[in-house]
Symmetry: C3
Subunit: 137 residues, 3 copies
Amino acid sequence: MRSVTEYLWYETKQRRELINITDRVETIVSGSRIAEGMVLVSAMHITAGVFVNDHEPGLWEDIWSWLQTLAPAGPDYKHHRTGEDNGDAHLKSILVHHQVIVPITKGKLDLGPWQQIFYAEFDGQRRKRLVVKAMGE
Amino acid sequence: MRSVTEYLWYETKQRRELINITDRVETIVSGSRIAEGMVLVSAMHITAGVFVNDHEPGLWEDIWSWLQTLAPAGPDYKHHRTGEDNGDAHLKSILVHHQVIVPITKGKLDLGPWQQIFYAEFDGQRRKRLVVKAMGE
Amino acid sequence: MRSVTEYLWYETKQRRELINITDRVETIVSGSRIAEGMVLVSAMHITAGVFVNDHEPGLWEDIWSWLQTLAPAGPDYKHHRTGEDNGDAHLKSILVHHQVIVPITKGKLDLGPWQQIFYAEFDGQRRKRLVVKAMGE
């Protein structure tokens, strides 16, 4: 069994940002020389998410406004008694999930034609990271 | 390490459909001769989901009406500027997640007594596929 | 390849309860003597969830009230024609997802500083279980 672990760091300019990280994950997988296996892509913070969907700017706007509807930013969270103001970012992270697994087949990410991997930052403007761990043979 | 990769194709008659795929995944796992490992079941399209829940038709109706409430079909998505009309299907896919991992123990899917694996089609009536990848020993 | 499979049983006092299970998963991983790999933590019931987030009681209150807003308990579920009264618990399970994968790096759970693993019981007061399966080398 072969495994490789790398950490991707991001410090977004906006508080909320979507970043297509497919190429960076692909590069890690190529470098791992794993032909058959799986790669886990997982946010290491509880106010960020990772999901697979479409590289289409209109859809990104839809996703943001949808997340604001279902898990709105606001002053009313009990979590804010700690001094934080990011209660909504925790709920958004739970909603979109913080991780995906992508199969590795014949040395490549085995994604469908429109599937791209996104890092969803819900409380950025500081250094945060993801773990990318590939396992296989 | 042993691994097996298979693709399941579906072309649903309805635009939205739930399909219990547990038996097909079980067959792939049996054929793989993996005794201990994990199997990833992952939609390869961004307008479909995979989840584990109950084989109970009343519940399926509840799931559909709930998904329509939280991620309604409608004309107002920015994504529709591309000519598509399936914005809701993308959001539903993110909501239910597009993949599950099932442990393989003693050669079988290690599911609880009521756990069944479902493919959730949100924009069907065309050929679409899932990847099923098992890894283990 | 090395693998270990253990089952964690819980019988909550309340119908709905959040339990931090990070230490129990860490103990299983230590005992497995896996240095590099992944551990799957997955509810075996369809009315429970597993997620990673913050150990902060104010946030837990936010999560509960948010889940009640998005997937409210109520009498109106079609699933209740079977005699059950836990329709909301199924939807909550789908919403938060029933599983997470945690990377194992240098023999430890490779979590971010605030990441903790929670079992979310949505229909407890009876014996229910999770599967914890670690794989690696």
